[in-house]
Point group: C2
Chain length 200, copies 2
């Protein structure tokens, strides 16, 4: 299995984290975003969106972090990480959507603007991100995990850009249930860290 990857990408980290938790070995192929490698014709053949992560596995070529999480959960995770019945599966999907909306266009963009000089409106992004954190806080005030009674790819999809939020200028102190949930994720067997996110 090959993961086209960049160390500082929260979207790539989602995949590395799930691989860690599932005990999956894979080869990391670093993609040099600073040199525009993700926009070359060679890379666009792997992913027409020109983004990382991309996963190659036994004839499957999957782009998009949510799609890769789903693929790994279905292929290697039994029903623990992605239940198959309609209602619990849709509940997992709700949080994958939050991760792709408020967290990505809010928290991750605020971080990208501050850390990588991207042209986003930082305040608008921070505000959008805080809306996402409020929804997470509301859910985690009365639930141990985001969907159902055990960790799923819902938690894995939301965790990285929440944990990296302070790099985008969004403090987490006012979200105590979110902080406790982050700690629970860090205690999962197989947990791996990334730069900017604590290992303990």
């Amino acid at each position: 299995m090959k993961l086209y990857d960049m160390e500082l990408s929260g979207n790539c980290y989602k995949i590395r984290l799930l691989c860690g938790l599932l005990g999956i070995d894979y080869e990391r192929v670093p993609v040099d975003l600073m040199q525009g490698q993700h926009k070359t014709e060679d890379f666009l053949r792997l992913n027409p969106r020109g983004q990382i992560p991309v996963l190659e596995d036994a004839g499957a070529l999957i782009w998009d972090s949510s799609a890769i999480l789903l693929y790994l959960a279905r292929q290697y995770g039994g029903e623990q990480w992605l239940p198959l019945a309609a209602k619990p599966m849709a509940e997992v999907m709700q949080w994958l959507s939050l991760a792709q909306n408020e967290l990505l266009y809010g928290l991750a963009r605020a971080r990208a603007a501050k850390k990588f000089n991207r042209p986003w409106d930082v305040e608008q992004c921070q505000q959008h991100g805080r809306l996402g954190l409020q929804v997470l806080e509301r859910q985690l005030a009365t639930n141990v995990w985001l969907a159902g009674s055990q960790p799923t790819i819902a938690d894995i999809a939301c965790y990285p850009y929440v944990a990296l939020a302070p790099e985008g200028g969004v403090a987490l102190a006012e979200f105590p249930a979110v902080l406790a949930w982050m700690q629970r994720i860090r205690e999962l067997p197989g947990y791996v860290a990334m730069p900017g996110i604590g290992a303990d």
Copy 2:
């Protein structure tokens, strides 16, 4: 089944369209966004994000358009609209993500800025949306449907804001494969239209 709905919302239309194609009857509960009904405490109990659509069905309460599509496909669509094997399911998910990213934050935001006076940067949104259209065009130049060999919720998720793109100032003429795909969707048995999208 109850759908909390607004006629002009492309995200709500995704659900109405899939219900039409699946032949599902449901009750529409209009939500008055102009009056801020979606931000009331009553509504936040249905959806902590304060957004439409929300679906109530036999004890399930699902928010988020992608999650509702997944729910309906699993509950009522067999494996046609959402295949269950890892690779084809992940392929469907790729396009659900495109719909939640380039199409929503690009095409839908450009439309919302122009049509509903929302505070988004129209040109930035149009540019982001065109990137999504290019990815769709590339896929549809050699494929009849977005994922696999028959229509899935991937097509349903992407169609509305693509079809509404001209309302956001994004012309579709340079995307002939996308236009042909839109026509195929309109010919599906059970197809329903919405204001701004042709019925024929």
